[in-house]
Symmetry: C2
Subunit: 319 residues, 2 copies
Amino acid sequence: MDKKELLACHERIKPYVHHTPVMSSSLINDQLGCSVFFKCENFQRAGAYKIRGATHAILHIPEGRRKKGVVTHSSGNFAQALSLAARSLGIPAHIVMPETAPSIKKAGVHTYGGTIYECAPTVEAREAMSAEIGQKTGATFLHPSNDDHVILGQGTAALELLFEHPGLNAIFCPVGGGGLIAGSALAAAYFGKDCAVLGGEPFEADDAYRSMLSGTIEGNDTVNTIADGLKTVLGDRNFPIIQAHVSKIVRVTEMEIVEAMRLVWERMKIIIEASSAVTLAALIRDVSDHPNHYKGKAIGIIISGGNVDLDKLPFQKLG
Amino acid sequence: MDKKELLACHERIKPYVHHTPVMSSSLINDQLGCSVFFKCENFQRAGAYKIRGATHAILHIPEGRRKKGVVTHSSGNFAQALSLAARSLGIPAHIVMPETAPSIKKAGVHTYGGTIYECAPTVEAREAMSAEIGQKTGATFLHPSNDDHVILGQGTAALELLFEHPGLNAIFCPVGGGGLIAGSALAAAYFGKDCAVLGGEPFEADDAYRSMLSGTIEGNDTVNTIADGLKTVLGDRNFPIIQAHVSKIVRVTEMEIVEAMRLVWERMKIIIEASSAVTLAALIRDVSDHPNHYKGKAIGIIISGGNVDLDKLPFQKLG
């Protein structure tokens, strides 16, 4: 996964993904005392950055095998992204989802042409059914975050952000399965000028924070967080990259997540999901802890997605 | 209000307003069978197009008098816009608001530096207090929609849209007090190529629809609509322009407004207020009534604003 491969990945997926805009808010800049550049992957196809990695991973499957399709287990944005990427490339996508997955997520997969297979809501059941589908159909299994091609693909959002704003002093990413932050860390290492990479994570699912401390991949006993995209744990492909290149994981409370989400919705008029708000919340907390460190700096934030259930918004609970 | 004046207005307000982006959605285009270009004034300063007209009107007050400030009565976006425009130009803004106005609206005016004066919730009380403040302070009264300079200013959103997409076949605007649609109609008449202008209005506040039929300015007995920016009635400055240049007012139900709002929030990931959703709802209804008329056409939509109260969203009621 060197510099050349990241650039080649970007060129290769370009026809299949949006080049998303970078937005800013003078109010947020004034409030934080630094310039914040939001890379808006909520405007990406299927509403999240995941299509970048999904497309890149599919393109790396040799053509004969590629025709037989792809299979994954995911209840979130990767399921929708893989379905849409597969459709764009003319191949079938088999999506294993727990029978308990919200109907809105199933509808999303259905919209983008994926075939849903329901299974019991356990990791074992998901893995068994994915393997079975792979054997039956010849479809290639793709992991949402622990795959080199996926990691490189996810890194292209930060790459585009750095092309537009080469002087960024830091980039903040949410940390779920680790694909986005690992890819962003590679992009910053290769194309940034002393550009630090920091992660945002809920206190309620702080496995990456603890993994960085212990040096081994840690799990979560409970995941009582509104940031439903960040409940997953790191993998052996992305963790070493994160260890090498990510300077800090900043943890935030559920209240801080909802407040950051409200700030963006109200002031920037864009819809971001809770998992994306974690990243701004982490920046706000770190600026509050180290104000001098951020004064006048240029900070990038990857807004990872905008897929929310409008029937279940968190704002009223605060009021 | 000729072509030259509209261009001069645009040049004059440029330093004080955002050039907002134009967005589109392939899903909405596929659904409607035409290409829809959304002019995103929800990203405008103070969250709505109103700052365009407010700024232009202030700039036309002779300098000696301008210093004494401006006064208006408004409980909506114009109050915030005038406050911000006045602050940008270094003069005071006096805003008369009914004591019943939601605290979120008062907070908005306060944020942008306007001084709030509370009065009884009647038109007479608002007008009396505005006149009194004008006499006491020397502030110039500005009407939110029935003022030539305001009308020209509001027309610059459609002007920018036409500069980017000169081949538009039609532009849809919401119709409240009539300033936006009158200004847009002038822009389309001067810079469009056979570009029709259509209005969107709630059935529950269809004064403009009835005014077009009767040929005189009609009022509303009741205004039970979620589109709180469209409860006002036309004025003698903008009505003749609307009569001359607007081809049709399309009325929509409250359910259609909420569905259009949900469509934009879910698919485009941008926050638009109900008054803006009226415009898309009107297009959807007119396409449904006259599908052949719209096939393959290029349609502009002015998204007028994005100021919503996140504690009072309409989506759950539908579910």
